[in-house]
């Protein structure tokens, strides 16, 4: 229970903070938008230590994705031009979109094994963003 409160507080705190700094990123070039999206996605993970460990394993399996911008783009499967819009999504909308991606991965067999864990490729990429 102690952990749970900490996680929820951390999570909602970060999410609230992000909601206060929304639209300026839209004015940025595409590469900056990708950076912004990557940062935004990282906030969805609270336990970065665990994610880092799995993320490193994923990059070892797929070195071609060893780039936060690539990972951010692939995680939500967005064209570059729509990345900035995704940064504007509120926390729950982002989660819902991510959740749908995760389900699609599992349904289509787009899974990876990291340290034995069968994870969706989207989850693995999310972890890799936390390295």
């Amino acid at each position: 229970m102690r952990h749970s409160r900490r996680i929820v507080l951390l999570w909602t705190g970060i999410a609230s903070g992000l909601s206060l700094m929304p639209r300026f990123v839209q004015a940025y070039p595409l590469s900056a938008a990708a950076d912004g999206l990557a940062a935004r996605l990282r906030t969805l993970i609270v336990d970065h230590a665990a994610a880092r460990r799995l993320g490193r394993l994923y990059i070892r399996q797929v070195p071609a994705e060893d780039d936060p911008r690539t990972l951010a783009r692939l995680t939500l499967a967005l064209p570059e031009t729509q990345q900035a819009d995704a940064i504007d999504l509120d926390h729950n909308s982002l989660r819902v979109r991510l959740d749908a991606r995760v389900r699609e991965d599992f349904a289509s067999g787009a899974t990876v094994q990291l340290d034995g864990w069968v994870l969706s490729r989207t989850e693995a990429r999310l972890c890799a963003l936390c390295r």
């Binding site: 749970s4 999570w11 599992f106 349904a107 034995g116 994870l119």
Partner: protein
């Protein structure tokens, strides 16, 4: 009635309609059913009512292949046979399981229904949806899912020698000879008919039996030994003219701890895996591959049951989850898993409010799996005559059990498919254990003590020992009952199928007699 063969007069002779050798699930079922239709039956049991070490020692033999339980411990040689230590799990073969058999599910199903009663089970209904409750329901069977829910019914388990003892004693026309060991099968000169059985007690007394029909129901290993030892006319053993006898031996390999599952312990889907008593039956859910997945992935039939590791939301596990579990899936390990991954998995799974309300109010459940499969038939996996003889002068057996080289890969793939389905259903995540994760499940490999396939049923005598009627190819009046006739093995405890096949054989013998 029961007769102690030790008390028979010297050179006593028996003459009946049907002689049956072996009083286990198959032999007892067949004997009772035939006798109830006015056939005279002699049922020969090597042991007596209780375990006896000298009799049990007749089962000794050598193991030369894959690790296997010593042959004199893997089976039981007294009234009721190996049902005296069976687990009770029951499920009929499905149509795909029987694809290579000369008979289909439509033929077997009526006998399965009767077998259900004999195995003291509740209603014959294996549709998981029909066993749903508010608290326990099968995983959603979405299109494209890899696995489908299945159901095991659990017999008390029925110890056939105990449960049917009074019936065996009182049924007209049925005599059970205890301490009666088959030592030779006598045939015509061209071995196309059995002419009599030669039997002996451990004290040396011998006697004879004659019948119109003879049935070996002595178990998947012993049936072979009896036929191979009967080699006075057919030198390679009776029914072995095409070198098929003893081949295709299989047991069900199973592994506890092939994967760790983290899931919401309060979900009805996870509770469906626990053993529950309802509607006069005891049932537990499991998962098995869809037909499409089995074909696409070239996987053997398998079933995965899921058990709680930390006890969250759990009822007692359906099996005696033994030291294996405690040794390899300890509390320390569960804590370790929780420490670095359960939070992550929960985070990934649902939004924060859901987490708070659903998951973090209780810790996520930690589960382990039991994987059991029926590998493809392998002619090199076999029972042969070995060195040495037993107390009756019969040559002992030698077992060379072989498993496919890709057994571990198949198990891992099965768990990967389960992991995908758990993720798809939003129920949790799964970790495939291996030597790389520090918990090599292959070290926990065990087998179901189910001896199958050694006198397999096939229309072609070059590919099997008995025909679709369980008659030994080339011999007009010799039949086999039991799991040795299985053409392939599914992944189920064979007892209910043994009983169903015995009932079917009984029908066939009755038709011949009339």
């Amino acid at each position: 009635m029961f007769v102690d063969a030790k008390k028979l007069s010297k050179n006593f002779s028996i003459d009946v309609d049907v002689c049956i050798v072996g009083a286990g699930a198959g032999g007892i079922t067949l004997a009772r059913d035939l006798a109830s239709r006015n056939r005279t039956v002699a049922l020969f049991e090597s042991g007596s009512f209780e375990y006896d070490a000298d009799t049990q020692a007749l089962y000794s033999g050598a193991v030369v292949g894959h690790d296997f339980t010593p042959l004199d411990r893997d089976r039981l040689r007294f009234l009721g046979g190996t049902t005296n230590h069976w687990g009770g799990s029951c499920r009929p073969f499905d149509a795909l399981d029987l694809a290579d058999w000369p008979i289909g599910l439509d033929v077997l199903e009526p006998y399965y229904r009767r077998a259900h009663e004999i195995c003291q089970l509740g209603p014959y209904n294996y549709d998981p949806a029909d066993w749903s409750t508010e608290d326990a329901r099968p995983m959603p069977s979405n299109a494209g899912a890899n696995l489908k829910s299945g159901l095991f019914h659990y017999s008390p388990p029925t110890h056939f020698g105990t449960v049917y003892r009074d019936d065996l004693n009182s049924t007209d026309g049925l005599t059970v000879y205890l301490n009666a060991n088959l030592i030779d099968i006598e045939t015509s000169d061209d071995a196309d008919r059995v002419t009599g059985l030669k039997l002996a007690c451990l004290d040396g007394k011998q006697f004879h039996a004659r019948a119109r029909h003879y049935v070996l129901a002595a178990g998947g290993i012993e049936n072979v030994r009896l036929l191979l030892n009967a080699n006075r006319v057919q030198k390679v053993g009776l029914g072995n003219q095409f070198d098929q006898l003893g081949r295709y031996f299989m047991d069900h390999p199973y592994i506890i701890g092939g994967a760790t599952v983290l899931a919401d312990a309060s979900s009805p889907e996870m509770r469906f895996f626990t053993m529950r008593a309802m509607r006069g039956s005891v049932v537990a859910g499991h998962l098995c591959p869809t037909d499409e997945v089995r074909r696409r992935e070239h996987l053997p039939p398998f079933a995965i049951s899921i058990f709680t590791l930390n006890g969250t939301g759990a009822e007692p596990a359906p099996f005696a989850l033994p030291q294996v579990l405690r040794r390899n899936l300890s509390e320390e390990r569960a804590n370790q898993i929780d420490f670095y991954l359960s939070r992550l998995v929960a985070e990934l799974e649902k939004p924060a409010d859901w987490l708070f309300n659903k998951v973090w109010r209780e810790p996520p459940g930690t589960y382990t799996t039991l994987y059991i499969c029926g590998p493809d038939p392998d002619p090199q996996s076999r029972v042969m005559l070995g060195d040495g003889v037993d107390a009756l002068g019969m040559r002992r057996i030698k077992l060379d059990w072989r498993l496919p080289d890709n057994f571990e890969q198949q198990m891992q793939r099965a768990h990967e498919l389960l992991g995908q389905d758990l993720g798809r259903a939003g129920l949790g995540r799964l970790r495939i254990e291996s030597s790389a994760t520090g918990h090599d499940p292959m070290q926990n490999m065990n087998h179901g003590h189910h001896h199958m396939g050694t006198t397999r049923m096939h229309n072609d005598p070059h590919r099997g020992v008995v025909d679709a009627d369980c008659r030994v190819h080339g011999i007009g009046n010799l039949f086999i009952a039991g799991s040795s006739v299985f053409t392939s093995y599914a992944c189920d405890d064979p007892t209910m199928t043994i009983v169903a096949l015995a009932l079917r054989l009984s029908n066939h013998l009755k038709s011949l007699a009339t």
